[in-house]
Symmetry: C2
Subunit: 123 residues, 2 copies
């Protein structure tokens, strides 16, 4: 993690895993984690009471459903889900995203349940 | 800033300015700023004592000179400059980068001088 003087290639890192809905930590910035994930299908509605959450789409197409409407993200587009806002990501095709939030934030937020998975460090 | 339910397109935001070495804030994540900048030529050596700094290259090619070697970033590659590490970005061609760090961090860090410029919000 954050190896000295080494660039982190998003494409290379994405080639290193195939599981869906598993956040892979690729870098740290202070107490924040930069993570990658591959998404396909619909996740679960949840919220993060204590933090905003940034999504940047790298490939594919992501819809972030919010209670008051959807945000559709194409590659090269980002959106910050405000703290406390219920949201549910859905992707018709496999979609690669970069996520940014404080370390330790769980993927399912307040919802919990079987799809809860801590972020994993990508070696 | 962080308009409700609106995607932020990096390409569109980059088309809205042309000045070099001016950080443009395009989103906020908690007390962090997501910024864009266009770089060409060499900046000044400086460090940020209190924070790491993330660079993600969108187009062009950026060399981050560090006292113990260079990191070269192509599009889709990122690097986190550790807090306290002296660095000096240089780009032979015009290069677009996404920057991420806590709000209020100045571009020239501890060095100050004529190239110091606070980040500007891109409307």
């Amino acid at each position: 993690m954050n190896e000295p003087n080494t660039a982190v290639s998003l494409a290379h890192r994405l080639s290193q895993f195939s599981e869906l809905w598993t956040q892979k930590t690729i870098a740290r910035l202070n107490d924040y984690e930069v993570k990658l994930a591959k998404l396909k299908g619909e996740f679960v509605w949840h919220k993060h009471e204590d933090t905003d959450e940034l999504f940047l789409v790298i490939s594919g197409r992501l819809t972030i459903q919010l209670r008051d409407g959807d945000v559709v993200l194409e590659p090269g587009e980002l959106f910050v889900v405000p703290r406390g806002a219920e949201h549910c990501p859905v992707a018709d095709e496999e979609t690669a995203v970069l996520l940014l939030e404080p370390e330790g934030v769980l993927n399912t937020g307040d919802a919990g349940g079987p799809r809860t998975k801590p972020a994993e460090t990508l070696d």
